[in-house]
């Protein structure tokens, strides 16, 4: 096991720069998730850590050693690919034992390690099968098995669950987390799915357009997003944003949207001349007497909660409540916003106020 450090890392393809001086410190045994929309550079960064992409500037360190010019095979890492990348002509056992075979380990040792990994991943009965005879979930487990037999310093996962159906994704998510808790190997995991990031990570790195937007523990990102992008990306359903200004009201301050809707702000908020983005998560809005009257446009009951898409004057807002709502679209409901859960961002820069 080892710590990983990414320092001022840059990636250029000719004149096109896709990673702009990224810094990430990953502690020994930590599970770090790189998350962001497609094209944000997260996979490129992971491939740079793996050694599959050259590093145009900055340094990548694994276990305190600069690995910029070290071949992937000498970095002591294991990688699980999105499409599993199993060798179709090799059996499950041969796939899992391949890294050890390349190291020239004795056959008995390879067989023992493969058997042990197969036990951990419940693959014992599939060892003689070929990848094409396996289901998606089984293939993913074999890919993980191939990674763990090597007992590497770092595990790298490149969107490993993207090709699985929703139900299997949840199962595999738990399995990967269990595996990490058991092996405690430093892990860097790439996904575009913020739920995966939130549920699996010790630390999340949110990326956009080759920049790191915020690094922190999942709940830290949820509770105190650094900017509008992180606030909108983390959390499902996504945070509501309303544009407007903070004005002095009744001895304190209140948010007044561009459409004139007045919304509560956290205690101690000072009025501001510059426009702000007012953010409130749908789950932090209640349907309760004393709330602001909103007109329902669409209701989405899911059993455990109900999503209400409504209009507050000219502003669209989405609320997720535990109660079952008897009102119908076109009718009004009182929406109560908890001021302590409100996030305020500078409208121009997007930064948290």
């Amino acid at each position: 096991m080892a710590e990983v450090a990414v320092r001022n890392v840059i990636k250029k393809y000719g004149h096109l720069q896709v990673i702009h001086g990224v810094n990430i410190e990953i502690a020994d045994g930590e599970f770090v998730v790189l998350v962001g929309p497609s094209g944000c550079g997260k996979s490129t960064l992971l491939r740079m850590i793996a050694g599959l992409e050259s590093i145009s500037g900055g340094e990548v360190l694994i276990g305190g050693r600069v690995v910029n010019d070290v071949l992937p095979k000498d970095r002591d890492i294991a990688m699980v690919f999105q499409n599993y990348a199993l060798y179709p002509h090799k059996t499950v056992a041969e796939n899992m034992g391949f890294p050890l075979k390349l190291k020239g380990r004795p056959k008995e040792e390879i067989a023992a390690k493969v058997r042990k990994a197969a036990e951990i991943l419940a693959l014992e009965k599939l060892l003689d099968r070929y990848p094409k005879q396996l289901s998606g979930g089984q293939r993913q487990r074999v890919a993980m098995g191939r990674a763990i037999v090597r007992d590497p310093q770092v595990f790298l996962f490149d969107e490993p669950l993207s090709n699985l159906d929703a139900k299997l994704r949840v199962t595999m998510r738990v399995e990967i987390k269990e595996l990490h808790q058991r092996l405690k190997t430093t892990t860097v995991y790439v996904t575009h799915d913020q739920i995966e990031a939130m549920t699996m990570a010790d630390k999340i790195v949110v990326m956009r357009d080759g920049h790191v937007e915020q690094i922190g523990a999942p709940l830290e990102l949820y509770d105190r997003p650094a900017n509008v992008f992180v606030a909108g990306f983390i959390g499902s359903p996504a945070m509501n944003f309303v544009r407007g200004r903070i004005e002095a009201r009744d001895g304190g301050a209140a948010f007044v949207s561009d459409h004139g809707t007045v919304l509560p702000v956290p205690a101690g908020t000072a009025p501001r001349a510059e426009p702000v983005a007012y953010g409130i998560r749908p789950e932090h809005i209640d349907v309760r007497d004393g709330g602001i009257s909103a007109t329902i446009s669409v209701l989405e009951p899911t059993g455990s909660e109900t999503q209400i898409f409504a209009h507050l004057g000219g502003d669209a807002i989405n609320a997720a409540v535990r109660e079952r709502i008897s009102a119908r679209p076109g009718e009004t409901v009182p929406l109560l916003i908890d001021p302590a859960r409100v996030h305020l961002f500078d409208d121009k820069s997007g930064a948290r106020i």
Binding site: A50, G51, K73, F81, A85, F98, R146
Partner: protein, 279 residues
């Protein structure tokens, strides 16, 4: 709705097509086992006599055995060399970002755009005047023929093999690299086994070209490297044509091709459909 045609009709059609394909071979065999006299006095397609002397004559003829040996050596060496070079070229074209690689790929095939006869004279001059070391000349040498067929077969082989190579996902190379493989190990352990169907098709097509080639072999060999196809033409003389002997040589010539085809048939079927269906 389309009417389903009866399976009987299908079978009948396939039988007829197979017979049409096999008929010339059957005819050849009938000629090869008849004495010359029977061929012209009572021409018949019925296999009523077995005159094995034609075969005895061919097998007993040391010159013809030499031609057959030359053909086997030249075709097999050529096919092996071309397949190996095409494999490495396609690996480079498929995996490395070479400047102008699509142009390189396209222009390799240009020497197949003209009839082989166009190149006869330059080749003849090269083989007899340029590639000469003391007494030794490329002309009438097996090495010369192998290299000659390479110039014609390699571009074709590269074109045949490229889709196979492109069809092998790059992630497998990367996975092997991360697993600890060197470039050579990636090629040997991952790419080569997966390219096997394509390699089999390339090998057999290249082998058949070299085995059947007549024009260049007739011009650029005289005795030492003479192949069996050119040997056949020696039985057309000013005093007549020895049909029986020619037919028996032709039948014997078919045998190695049949053996090679049967050995790699499974791969050929896989190779010809490679990439047609998403796995």
């Amino acid at each position: 709705m389309m009417r389903q045609s009866s399976p009987l009709l299908h079978v009948l059609l396939w039988v007829l097509l197979s017979l049409a394909t096999l008929f010339p071979i059957y005819w050849l065999f009938v000629i090869s086992v008849k004495p010359a006299v029977d061929l012209f006095t009572t021409p018949s397609l019925i296999l009523d006599t077995f005159y094995w002397k034609n075969y005895v004559n061919v097998v007993g003829n040391a010159t013809l055995r030499g031609y057959m040996y030359n053909s086997l050596i030249i075709s097999t060496s050529n096919a092996a060399l071309v397949t190996m070079l095409a494999f490495l070229s396609c690996y480079a074209l498929s995996r490395y970002d070479l400047a102008g690689k699509e142009n390189i790929f396209f222009w390799t095939i240009t020497n197949r755009m003209a009839p082989a006869a166009v190149f006869l004279l330059p080749f003849f001059l090269l083989f007899t005047q340029v590639f000469v070391i003391g007494e030794w000349r490329l002309y009438d040498s097996k090495v010369g023929m192998v290299l000659l067929y390479c110039t014609f077969n390699l571009p074709f082989a590269i074109w045949t093999l490229r889709p196979t190579m492109d069809g092998i996902p790059r992630e497998l190379d990367e996975a092997a690299t991360v697993d600890g493989a060197t470039t050579w190990q990636v090629i040997h352990e991952v790419v080569l086994p997966l390219a096997r169907p394509g390699l089999a098709v390339t090998f057999i097509l290249t082998w058949v070209f070299a085995w059947n080639e007549f024009l260049l072999a007739a011009t650029l060999t005289s005795f030492n490297a003479r192949t069996i196809t050119t040997g056949l033409s020696e039985y057309v003389t000013t005093t007549g044509t020895e049909w029986g002997t020619m037919a028996s040589i032709a039948v014997i010539t078919l045998i190695p091709a049949l053996i090679i085809f049967s050995m790699v048939q499974r791969h050929i079927v896989a190779g010809l459909t490679f990439g047609a269906v998403k796995e």
